[in-house]
């Protein structure tokens, strides 16, 4: 066995994050580590790579006991890791990030030329064409993620650990990553892969280990573990009831009457082509398209993060000015951004504080949200979004990655806006909580809120939306509603080649 963890135990104040977990990784296998948000996946990885000190248990690499007490030690042992919450250092150049700790030197002096050459080699095969001398922070999250992966791959002589590496990658990039991983596997490395995308898990992994509440539930070959049983292992309950509630929802037509909002000719040069959109009270609009098709950009325009160059936005009362997010919030808009890792978490504040933050900002700091109300809200959302925590006063930084995202989501839901944009609301969130979030969206719309959901997960989008808008190349290419909303139609619209595009913009 390449790597073996034996009865690994880790306790954080007052809670067991890992409880006597056994885990084995063979060389030449890709081993998925799955579980709900807060199950202990990231904690296991951090104990293994010396970020956390384990309380008990042993780690064997090639049968020898190892006890890495720092990440540099783990790297020296040939364990390369992409952590969930972290990309790299935005203030270093791409080349510096890639070679950090292993810079080619002569007499102790780094040679920038050799460094650049080395970095260029490391990036081969990822299809990235970027300037190695620029700050990493000036590139998109996806590029940063790929750079982080390239670095970890280089450092992994024996074991490569990927903790949700695909969250911000598009399909093409995911395929590229898979090719790299398969190559490493064939070279005899052991790879640990954490993800909430079960399709990816089945496409890539040889074995699956499921964690629940810090305990190992099962380890099985992925071809003998079917999806339903897998999810049942993760959730620890039967799936039937849930699937039913999934089907139950589809409403009749959206509430008719005056549109809540109308966007007319809204666009920004070189960014989003002008589009018209009427938003009805209580409807869910789904927005679909490939990464880079302009989905997030459209949302940013609607929320005033970017100024529009053309067009008007109006409601029943008249025109709205949306020059910045503050205007948008004042107009009753809400926006939960895609990149919740960096936008929006205040790690040192409690869950309760993070949830009431935006609400408090809107009311002004003189009119405090009453303490009792804060507590009620926090308790409510912890329950409804199933945020795994020991209590509402826990610092958000101490939650698992997926649970942090739920907190950001809760903040915007608590604002109770009349028009809410959710950009990839279920990314990084486990399958169990997916359904709960969709359920919540439906409840909100039943009370009259209009919601725009951007999602790459088409099944979900189709299940929740009353209307679907498809974007390609920064323009709207199709609108589907009612019974036209099928997986086939949406995929077709996304992929359709330019000749027969049905322009509705």
């Amino acid at each position: 066995m390449l790597l073996a963890l034996q009865s690994l135990t880790k306790t954080f104040v007052g809670m067991k994050a890992l409880d006597e977990v056994d885990f084995e990784l063979a060389s030449g296998e890709v081993h998925a580590l799955l579980g709900e948000n807060g199950a202990g996946k990231s904690t296991l990885i951090k104990c293994l790579t010396g970020v956390y000190r384990r309380d008990a248990g042993s780690i064997l690499l090639d049968g020898r006991d190892i006890s890495p007490d720092s990440t540099s030690r783990a790297q020296a042992l040939g364990i390369g890791t992409v952590y969930q919450e972290v990309n790299l250092l935005p203030n270093l150049t791409v080349a510096q990030n890639l070679t950090f700790g292993h810079e080619p030197r002569r007499f102790g002096i780094i040679s920038p030329r050799a460094q650049r050459r080395r970095a260029a080699q490391m990036l081969e095969g990822y299809g990235l064409d970027i300037d190695l001398d620029r700050d990493l922070g000036s590139y998109s999250v996806a590029v940063q993620q790929l750079v982080a992966i390239a670095r970890a791959v280089e450092l992994s002589g024996r074991v490569l650990i990927l903790d949700e590496p695909t969250a911000s990658l598009d399909d093409r990039e995911v395929q590229m990553l898979f090719a790299v991983v398969r190559r490493l596997r064939d070279r005899g490395l052991g790879i640990i892969f954490v993800s909430h995308f079960l399709d990816q898990v089945y496409a890539l992994c040889d074995r699956i280990t499921v964690l629940r509440n810090g305990c190992r539930i099962v380890t099985e070959r992925s071809d003998s573990l079917d999806r339903v049983r897998l999810i049942e292992h993760m959730l620890g309950r039967e799936l039937a009831a849930q699937e039913e509630s999934e089907k139950r929802h589809r409403r009749s037509a959206p509430l008719a009457g005056e549109p809540l909002l109308s966007f007319a000719g809204v666009g920004r040069r070189g960014f989003v082509e002008p589009f018209d959109l009427e938003v009805q009270r209580g409807e869910v609009i789904g927005m679909s398209g490939l990464l880079g098709s302009g989905r997030t950009e459209t949302a940013e325009l609607m929320f005033g993060i970017r100024r529009m160059h053309s067009g008007t936005v109006s409601d029943a009362e008249g025109d709205l000015r949306l020059n910045n997010p503050r205007d948008a919030i004042a107009a009753g808009f809400g926006f939960a951004p895609e990149d919740r890792k960096t936008d929006g978490i205040i790690a040192d504040l409690s869950i309760r504080d993070n949830i009431v933050l935006a609400m408090q900002a809107r009311r002004g700091w003189l009119r405090r949200v009453p303490r009792a109300e804060q507590k009620r809200l926090a308790a409510d959302y912890i329950e409804r979004l199933d945020i795994r925590t020991s209590g509402p006063e826990k610092a958000v930084g101490e939650l698992s990655g997926g649970n942090q995202q739920k907190v950001v989501l809760a903040r915007w839901l608590a604002m109770n806006p009349r028009f809410l944009v959710l950009d990839e609301p279920t990314r990084g969130i486990d399958v169990g909580a997916h359904a709960e979030i969709l359920q919540l969206v439906r409840e909100l719309t039943a009370r009259g809120m209009a919601v725009l959901v951007i999602s790459s997960e088409l099944d979900e989008l189709i299940a929740v939306s009353d209307r679907v808008i498809v974007l390609r190349d920064r323009r709207q290419v199709a609108r589907l509603s009612g019974s036209d909303i099928t997986l086939e139609n949406v995929v077709h619209a996304i992929a359709a080649s330019d000749e027969h595009r049905e322009v509705s913009a």
Partner: protein, 322 residues
């Protein structure tokens, strides 16, 4: 388009050149090797300390003890040369060991206790100033034949300007500082720490060791600055260089280094020091202006730089998002 990370450095150099040009228009004599030589000599101790400060600030820290360390160094040298009979070079070596160890100890405390550098080095500042007082309350003149001969070493530049030993030491300090910050693994760790301690740790940086080394280096530079200051003034005085730490911080910021750490260039600080020296020279040349104008000018420059950096930050993030 040039790399945006160079903008603050370019701005610093541009400001220095413009300032020099303005001075030159009024007092053409300013463009002479004599003035240039004096600029280096007069600001040598400040420049050396600022090299250490640049590294500290790049890592996201601060070192408030350096002014006190300079004063301590002067008193230490004066007392040792008067009372012990050791050779000045031995005294210098001993002093550098002491100040480096002192810096290392502060670094260790900052890391171990997870205390803000501000607090720890503030305590260090009072402590060292107190020790200097205990060694002597008065100014002690230094006269040792070897020491005074060092004070008189200079190279004559064309145009009769004098490039003094201490001026050369400062320039060397900048060269060494540049290599350390930008061309060694230690330097990479410094930048990493300035970019984010948690991230640096996950990338495999040894944060504790780096922190100790950063403050040790600053202590070493402060000790060296103290030697240079003693050579410059020829005495040791416990009340000397009060507030020099703040001047050093100002030169680092005017030199284009981000006060919150993670971005900047050591050579930027050289231009920060020279700009500050130039303003002082201008005021001396003018003769009617009060020396307080130096401080006002520095205040204005500091503000301008902070605004510039905010603007740049916004510019680059806006571009990368587009």
């Amino acid at each position: 388009m040039r790399n945006p990370r160079l903008y603050p450095l370019l701005a610093t150099i541009a400001i220095f050149i413009i300032a020099y040009a303005i001075c030159y228009l009024q007092f053409p004599y300013i463009l002479s090797t004599r003035v240039a030589g004096n600029l280096l000599t007069d600001n040598a101790y400040l420049g050396i300390v600022a090299v250490g400060m640049t590294i500290v600030i790049l890592s996201g820290g601060i070192d408030l003890s350096v002014g006190s360390v300079i004063a301590f160094s002067g008193v230490f040298i004066a007392v040792m040369l008067r009372d012990s009979g050791l050779h000045p070079l031995a005294v210098f070596a001993l002093l550098l060991v002491i100040t480096t160890a002192f810096g290392a100890a502060m670094g260790w405390l900052i890391y171990r206790l997870a205390m803000p550098a501000f607090i720890v080095t503030l305590a260090g500042m009072f402590l060292v100033r107190g020790v200097a007082y205990m060694m002597s309350i008065d100014s002690i003149p230094i006269d040792h034949p070897f020491f005074t001969s060092l004070q008189r070493v200079y190279w004559l530049m064309p145009g009769k300007g004098r490039l003094t030993l201490i001026g050369v030491v400062m320039l060397l300090a900048f060269v060494v500082g540049h290599i350390i910050a930008h061309r060694t693994r230690f330097g990479a760790n410094v930048f990493a720490l300035g970019g984010g301690e948690q991230t640096a740790r996950l990338m495999g940086s040894r944060v504790g060791r780096t922190t100790v080394m950063i403050y040790a280096f600053s202590g070493l530079m402060a000790g060296l600055g103290g030697i240079v200051f003693a050579l410059y003034t020829g005495s040791g005085y416990p009340l000397a260089t009060v507030g020099t730490e703040l001047t050093a911080i100002a030169t680092v910021v005017i030199g284009g280094t981000l006060l919150t750490g993670g971005a900047g260039y050591v050579f930027g600080t050289l231009f920060g020091v020279l700009t500050m020296g130039l303003i002082q020279t201008y005021i001396v040349f003018d003769g009617t202006l009060s020396s307080w104008w130096t401080r006002i000018a520095i205040g204005v420059l500091l503000l301008a730089f902070i605004v510039l950096q905010k603007g740049l930050l916004r510019l680059t993030t806006a571009r990368s998002a587009a």
